[in-house]
Subunit: 322 residues, 2 copies
């Protein structure tokens, strides 16, 4: 616990603090940055929370999210931090343009990714946590931060989203206990779930329908393709098909799910999911991608989606022993 | 707590116990019956768990579920119980053919439905519980039952399913604490979620695609129709569209979701869901149905689905002040 106590000293001794999350922000990232920002502000410090990317609109209704700044806004403010806290990033390139200022500052890294490269001066990295927001919750408690309904709700967001609303294998007893404590403090699970999950567009549904109509199933394997024309005809972008591959995995008796997505024209991304035993990260790595054993992906430029599908299926069938 | 102590005495004093759940069993029902059966068997009693209906196949892999008996099997066994415990049923007609034997026995009712009619000799009814399985968990603990991985997992099933995997408004701090305790005892949230939720058939997906293609949206309201021909062409029955109305509700800015389902020919069921303020149970009641404020339904014999849709939409638009 030496690292943790040096982290506490560093935060306590600093007066001007910049807290940075990652680009392509998800619920855990947003929740972590905002919860620590609100926490440290409570200690009377000058604190800015920053994410150098567009915040998905469904998160903007949660407390504190609208106050997040990007890199330009940060430069405008001429804010000179005593310390930069980087949250939920396994490597420095994840912070977007903030990467430019990292070398000039003392960096604290707080992250739950097993792949974290310890690029901070102080690193609190612990992959037994289901979410970085869960680490922030513990940190805030050690710092004596008082939780009200607003802080509890935004902090709950990270615990819920990074565990797939308590359905993934990282749903431990400790995660559920922390979630219970946040609910006791005022977090509203139904409000969080409804705000994040019940925000689909009709166009997204039409795209899903296109994906479903093209699903093919063969023993233990299911796959589909979305071409650039599909996206165009539904008025969608690649952001709209986020999570679609999980729908394919939800098919009975399917071990591996593959979704090939072309957006824009000739840029092809492949999402791979497995249920129990196939390590899809190995398949993705063979194709220059990466990820986890149960969720991985890879991308291709100047490619044809059907050709990519063919190559991926060959590798998946091999991995499945067929 | 007088009722609770008389419940404990009754169970402790009885040697031959029949535990009955409801027809059209859901996760909470199955979880409750099996968990109490396994619990009381541990006390050396002769206990049978019964549900007089088909068990949805995805539940059969959970511990103890295959041992559930129906009414015919019960008659075959010539089992004469000292007490009948009825779980998760708001009225006696919910037990299927077991209703015939209720008058001859001492009945204990354990239920979390606010609409429960207290039809037992001893009634433990408490709608502050999110699930009847949560009541069974507390009861088993009072009875000193020891939890292993199997019992923890099947008991967890009810807590998870009746709260929509911790997303509905009944997700309290106590529910999450109990879930955490069951996980500590060996329950596997990911296994439970994956087993129950990742068991869709391709035919179900094709039916979903048909529903999506027919969704219509108008300010705050979204609806769709599945005709008998749709079910036939996808090789589906009405069981396959269970939960589809929630997909419609997941649309952004939609307050009320309506799904009209015709199965079989000219038998029409309407599912109504709302997000925040429209009481759909009132609409359902006007049409001879019932339910809760946010989830209700009604059924029609010898009806045309499009005509039914028209009538329902008129009522919904009225309720929405339009």
């Amino acid at each position: 616990m030496i690292k943790f106590s040096s982290l506490i000293s560093k935060l306590t001794d600093s007066q001007r603090i910049l807290i940075v999350g990652h680009i392509m922000p998800d619920g855990d990232d947003i929740s972590s940055v905002v919860s620590l920002t609100l926490g440290l502000q409570q200690l009377g410090k000058s604190v800015l929370g920053a994410i150098d990317d567009k915040i998905p609109p469904e998160y903007l209704v949660f407390p504190g999210v609208k106050d997040l700044i990007d890199y330009e806004k940060f430069l405008d403010l001429k804010f000179s931090p005593d310390v930069v806290v980087v949250l939920d990033c396994s490597s420095p390139d994840r912070v977007g343009r903030f990467v430019k200022i990292l070398p000039e500052h003392t960096i604290v890294v707080i992250d739950h990714h097993a792949t974290n490269g310890f690029f901070g001066d102080i690193n609190w990295v612990d992959s037994t946590y289901a979410a970085t927001a869960q680490m922030v919750f513990h940190l805030n408690k050690v710092l004596g931060i008082e939780y009200n309904e607003e802080l509890a709700t935004i902090n709950f967001v990270g615990l819920a989203t990074d565990s797939g609303f308590f359905r993934y294998s990282n749903t431990t007893s400790n995660l559920l206990k922390d979630a219970a404590e946040l609910v006791e403090m005022g977090a509203k699970p139904h409000f969080v779930a409804s705000t994040i999950l019940e925000n689909k567009t009709l166009n997204q549904f039409l795209l899903l329908s296109k994906m479903i109509d093209k699903i093919k199933v063969e023993k233990g394997l299911a796959y589909s393709v979305l071409t650039f024309e599909d996206y165009l005809s539904c008025g969608c972008t690649d952001q709209d098909s986020s999570g679609f591959v999980s729908e394919i995995r939800s098919l009975k008796n399917v071990e591996v799910a593959v979704l090939v997505m072309e957006y824009p024209k000739n840029r092809v991304h492949v999402s791979l999911r497995s249920k129990n035993y196939v390590d899809v990260s190995k398949i993705a790595a063979t194709l220059g991608g990466g990820g986890h054993a149960r969720a991985a992906g890879c991308s291709f430029e100047n490619a044809d989606p059907w050709q990519v599908l063919k190559e991926v299926l060959t590798l998946v069938r091999e991995a499945m022993g067929g």
